[in-house]
């Protein structure tokens, strides 16, 4: 019988043979049936090599057929590293190999398999580091030839993944028989139950040998209204507070359960022998999955290697599938309770010492073996076969339990839960292996250059681990980091136990004394697109005028979560209009905070660099604040509404952080003040330009004359019938009024202002025009013109820092910085080439070495010059000093000039 004949013989409980599908593999059309995995369909079509290994590019074939090992990773529809053994086949899918060139069957890089003596464990720590220039070249080569699939950076990787929250009394992870029974019991006690199963159907291992029983239990559970079953759902993390992270297609599930029952079962482990990675060597469950789930028989002639009774049951099942079982090789010298079945040759006290073949298994050498005496070479016997099944004792699939803090003990070859956790329980075979191991999975070390792979993911051999131990990496955690065992796609599922056993033998101690490595989420692979699910639905903050801007053709700028109009088409025209006429900008995104209470002034004195307690009601003050290190963190204007009430603004991106900052210091100093965030409550708009007074006066009874309403004052009153706070301030450097009104009235007020200013040509302007206008005025923006090292004494704000205040945040470090003197200065500059605008962030260079950087640059339509702000060394910051900007590989000259660049005496602002 051949594999390709098998679909006619086997149904495969996940396969719907009435629904054929077609996909392409390496540009070849491949037939399949709905429900089959990609790998099963390829195997049925005769494909045996599915991947090339990580380091040596050895051919690898299907192995676990459960999505645990790295042997079936392929590129599917542009997604690399898809585990094709469990990925359902879909019509039109495009499947390609990865990590091989030019093809899987003939991979040039397989030459590394011959060069293995030059690539020992940790070779990249030892080789090619002298001379030093060699390493970057070598590293580049290593990164290209080793590894897994590559993400196509040019392909669109958009995802519509979503986060979904689930709440339940009990969450059962794993839908095998133990899981189904646990769910049924919990439901019977009246609990809401969520059951997670990573396969398309419930049943777990019972699908492999008793599908009907599994189906009956599944249908019973599905009809239970208190149980919600999520198939095709993989739990990958168990976090504090009984939070379970799981993914299902494009959904990221966050499940909170009062109780968690983990029923993730157990898995077989590979044996160690020479060439134990050849295509055709399977875990026993892998062969059964291929047949029972997907209807594909793995081969014709099979050898079963086992160490327990399960292997004999497996041999019987394989016979029933029509396979010719050439022999059952049992490592046990005693305790073999299973009788010889159906005339299957039984080789006791024996083990496999070597597998033969190149791109597929051809046969195995079996020798009598004893754990103490080793292999008897004279007894070697060759058995031809195309499939080898390894039916070892099972290892609990306990990654989630380990993440949760449960510990397992390894005693007499048996792993069992050592410590119970509150609200988290283990049930079924994950709680402890059903059968003890007899001899260990490792035969004694072979001589010569034979490769016995401990870790299939990273191509770590037994010899590598022995060498690492000899070099002193004898703790399992350091051994892991040095050899990279357990660090590949399987995350120790296939190699964890073998690594421990090889380590134990090297250290001549018990495996239990070696311990295990730390298990961390994710326990199963999760696509980054799913983890970033929240990103696709980032909250959008819209000002009350959002739809007005949209209708006016605004081009949008993302400012944190806010959408702001960057411009309405021509920022420079908007600048000219504000300078010569009048414009209106939506500044609702400003942080707005009210401080109320007898200690409000005291708190502001302690937070801002300047003094606020002497601010009179109705006056406006500009202030900046520092953190405890004296670094600038925010600025804004504020006013005093009455003796115990202040209203301040913060920069758009900092609004929430500043409220928290104020709350922190209020609590620290135990001040009697209430802090109220008003950012959402108030909209704000800035009417700016020479004709702004004329327009505003049409809508308000507030006296607007320069004498009645001078610069840096605030008036409360009605504008167009809406109660407003009007600030006479000018970020853009023109006569202007910043009007704050309740958000609910913003639309009406904005439209009324536009109507009132129509005959004056009132136009909206956007953030880009505002940035040019403020730069012309030399106003800096915290976060753009400052960074995490900028302090006010260097930013030109010495005048603001009131050291005569006994306390304010950042006072002591600023005193020290003052004593040290400035290292750098923020200066204004003109480019000598007045038409060219260097990009922000360019370096200021001196004799070719960077000494500063540009923070803001623009072309000024008003001054018709290219200008900006830059940090330069303090001793090079004199007015008239020239400096050079590294830009496009050349050094462009600029000259330091005084700021503001425009309206230096502030006459327009104060007019």
């Amino acid at each position: 019988m051949t594999a390709s004949q098998s679909p006619a013989l086997l149904a495969g409980c996940l396969v719907d043979r009435s629904r054929p599908v077609s996909f392409t593999y390496e540009d070849r059309a491949m037939p399949a049936f709905e429900g089959q995995s990609i790998a099963a369909a390829l195997y049925a079509a005769g494909i045996r090599v599915f991947t090339r290994s990580f380091k040596y590019h050895r051919p690898r074939g299907l192995f676990c057929v459960s999505g645990d090992c790295p042997n079936c990773l392929m590129n599917v529809d542009g997604r690399p590293n898809v585990r094709t053994c469990v990925e359902p086949v879909r019509d039109g899918q495009i499947v390609r190999h990865q990590n091989a060139w030019p093809s899987l069957d003939w991979d040039v890089l397989n030459v590394f398999d011959k060069l293995h003596r030059f690539l020992p464990v940790g070779f990249y720590y030892k080789r090619f580091h002298k001379p030093r220039w060699l390493w970057p070249i070598f590293e580049h080569v290593v990164r290209h030839v080793a590894g897994l699939g590559k993400v196509d950076a040019h392909a669109g990787h958009e995802t519509d993944a979503e986060i979904e929250h689930l709440h339940t009394d009990v969450c059962v992870i794993g839908g095998g028989r133990a899981g189904m029974q646990a769910a049924a019991e919990a439901s019977g006690s009246g609990a809401r139950v969520v059951l997670l199963e990573r396969m398309p159907r419930l049943g777990g291992r019972s699908l492999l040998n008793n599908a009907q029983v599994a189906a009956d239990e599944e249908s019973k559970l599905l009809s239970d209204s208190r149980v919600t079953v999520h198939c095709n759902t993989t739990a990958f993390g168990l976090y504090e507070g009984n939070l379970i992270g799981a993914c299902s297609d494009n959904r990221f599930l966050k499940i909170r359960a009062k109780d968690i029952i983990v029923c993730t079962g157990s898995r077989q482990q590979p044996f160690l022998f020479e060439n134990n990675d050849l295509p055709g060597i399977f875990l026993g469950d892998g062969v059964l999955r291929l047949a029972s789930l997907y209807g594909v028989v793995a081969g014709r002639r099979v050898v079963v290697l086992t160490e327990n009774d399960e292997g004999h049951g497996l041999a019987k099942q394989l016979c029933e599938l029509g396979m010719d079982v050439a022999a059952v090789v049992d490592q046990r010298s005693d305790g073999m309770q299973s009788p010889k079945q159906n005339s299957i040759p039984l080789l006791g006290s024996s083990s496999i010492v070597r597998a033969r073949g190149r791109k597929r298994l051809e046969g195995v050498w079996v020798a009598t073996w004893d754990q103490k005496a080793g292999t008897d070479k004279s007894s070697q016997k060759y058995i031809a076969c195309d499939v080898l099944c390894m039916a070892s004792a099972r290892q609990p699939a306990n990654e989630l339990l380990l993440q949760a803090g449960m510990r397992f003990r390894h005693v007499d070859g048996r792993w069992s839960a050592e410590q119970q956790l509150e609200h988290i329980r283990a049930a079924g075979s994950v709680a402890g292996t059903e059968q003890a191991r007899c001899a260990g999975k490792t035969t004694p070390t072979a001589a010569g250059n034979a490769k016995r792979f401990v870790c299939l993911c990273e191509d770590v051999t037994e010899k590598d681990i022995q060498q690492a131990l000899a070099e002193g990496f004898d703790h399992i955690e350091t051994l892991k980091r040095y050899t990279t065992v357990n660090m590949g796609p399987c995350q120790g599922k296939m190699c964890g136990l073998a690594a421990v056993e090889v380590c134990a033998r090297g250290k001549t101690c018990e495996a239990g004394a070696v311990g295990t490595t730390t298990s961390r989420p994710p326990a199963a692979p999760v696509e980054l697109g799913v983890l970033a699910a929240g990103h696709t639905h980032q909250p959008i903050r819209r000002t009350p005028l959002h739809h007005w801007h949209e209708a006016a053709g605004a081009q949008w700028l993302d400012a944190g979560q806010w959408k702001r109009p960057e411009s309405y088409g021509d920022p420079e025209a908007e600048v000219r209009w504000v300078r010569t006429n009048v414009g209106l900008i939506d500044v609702s995104t400003l942080g707005k905070i009210e401080l109320i209470g007898p200690d409000a002034a005291e708190l502001l004195d302690r937070i801002y660099l300047n003094r606020w307690s002497d601010l009179k009601p109705g006056r406006v003050r500009y202030g900046a604040m520092c953190n405890e290190d004296g670094i600038l963190i925010d600025d804004g204007v504020g006013t005093r509404l009455d003796a115990e009430r202040f209203y301040i603004t913060a920069t758009t991106g900092n609004a929430d952080a500043i409220v928290q900052w104020l709350e922190l210091w209020r609590a620290t100093w135990r001040l009697n003040v209430t802090i109220l965030s008003q950012t959402s409550a108030f909209a704000a708009m800035n009417l700016a330009g020479p004709r702004s007074r004329e327009i505003l006066q049409r809508l308000t009874s507030i006296a607007l004359s320069p004498a009645a309403f001078p610069y840096m004052t605030m008036r409360e009153g009605q504008v167009a019938g809406v109660a407003c706070r009007v600030f006479r301030i000018g970020f853009v450097g023109e006569l202007g009024y910043e009007i704050h009104c309740p958000s609910s009235h913003a639309w009406g007020l904005w439209e009324t202002l536009h109507d009132a200013g129509a005959d004056c040509g009132l136009r909206p302007f956007g953030v880009e025009a505002q940035r040019i206008l403020r730069l012309e005025k030399g106003h800096l923006i915290i976060g753009q013109d400052t960074d995490a090292l900028s302090h006010p004494l260097e930013a030109g704000w010495e005048w603001m820092v009131r050291f005569d205040k006994p306390v304010f945040v950042g006072r002591d470090p600023l005193l020290r910085l003052k004593a040290m003197g400035p290292r750098a200065r923020l200066v204004g500059f003109f480019m000598l080439d007045t038409e060219r605008v260097p990009p922000e962030g360019c370096q200021v260079v001196e004799q070719g070495r960077p000494v500063g950087r540009l923070t803001s640059t623009r072309y000024s339509p008003t001054l018709r010059k290219s200008l900006g702000l830059a940090w330069v060394p303090a001793n090079k910051a004199a007015i008239g000093q020239r400096f050079f900007i590294r830009w496009d590989g050349a050094d462009a000259p600029a000259i330091i000039v005084p700021t503001p660049f425009y309206d230096t005496e502030g006459r327009r602002l104060k007019s």
Binding site: E164, H165, L166, H167, K254, R256, G534, H537, Q538, P539, I540, R541, R542, T543, P544, H546, H547, W562, S588, E594, I596, G597, T674, L676, S677, Q678, T679, S680, A681, F682, Q697, R698, L699, T700, S701, Q718, V719, A720, G721, V722, P742, S743, S744, H745, W747, G748, L749, E751, T752, A756
Partner: protein, 228 residues
């Protein structure tokens, strides 16, 4: 000079309502949704599916800090303490709900748009009330599918918010206040004004599979049912 021109207040969802065929009415200086042409609600539909109402126009008042006990006393009278996270109804000077979000935070949700009478009473009691009507967008979600919908959108189990309780939590990635009056199938959601449209759209989008329908204020006959 036109200093008295009246501009009607709008909820943050005004343009969403326009796009979806809402008919508006003026009420106490606000433009509120009367009904949607496309989604007339059949009698009894609220008891089967999921209805969503824009409540942003109703007055909301916040009392903070050590003024909270005095505010409780002023509105509810002596001997009626409001434990943190409890929701208690009041009817003087107008009807509404008092939600004790924390020991030092009381959120008053009025059953009327003009809440000047509440503010006046609280001022008289020296409670320093803050009108947060324009700070918070409010939605009413009602129907048997309320909890299944919200359950998928928030890390807090909505069932943990029993009738007569409130909670602050994360809803579709933003801070939200959930208030459940006496009726277990109704829930009120309050979020920042500028996030109102985002949250509303997410509720509509996620609620499609639950048969969600937006309705106007008159359809939601009683916004704030009595609480114990």
């Amino acid at each position: 000079m036109n200093t008295t021109q009246t501009t009607l207040a709008r909820t943050p969802l005004h343009h969403w309502h326009i796009r979806h065929g809402a008919r508006f009415v003026e009420r106490d200086g606000w433009l509120v949704v009367d009904s949607y042409a496309a989604t007339d609600v059949e009698p009894g539909e609220g008891s089967r599916g999921l209805l969503l109402t824009d409540l942003s126009s109703y007055a909301k008042i916040s009392v903070l800090g050590n003024h909270v006990p005095a505010a409780v006393e002023a509105l509810l009278g002596h001997g009626k303490p409001v434990e943190p996270l409890r929701v208690i109804s009041f009817d003087m000077p107008c009807t509404g709900l008092a939600c004790r979000l924390a020991a030092d935070h009381l959120l008053l949700l009025s059953d009327v748009i003009d809440a000047s009478s509440i503010i006046e009473r609280l001022n008289q009691a020296g409670c320093a009330p803050h009108d947060v009507t324009s700070a918070l967008a409010g939605f009413g979600v009602s129907g048997p599918e309320t909890d299944p919908l919200l359950s998928s959108l928030t890390p807090l189990d909505p069932l943990a918010v029993s009738p007569g309780f409130c909670a602050e939590t994360n809803l579709v990635g933003v801070h939200a206040v959930l208030v459940r009056p006496q009726d277990a199938t109704r829930l009120q959601v309050y979020v920042a004004w500028d996030l109102g449209e985002y949250v509303w759209e997410r509720l509509i989008q996620s609620g499609r599979s639950h048969g969600i329908k937006p309705i106007g204020l008159p359809g939601n006959k009683r916004r704030l049912p009595d609480c114990a």
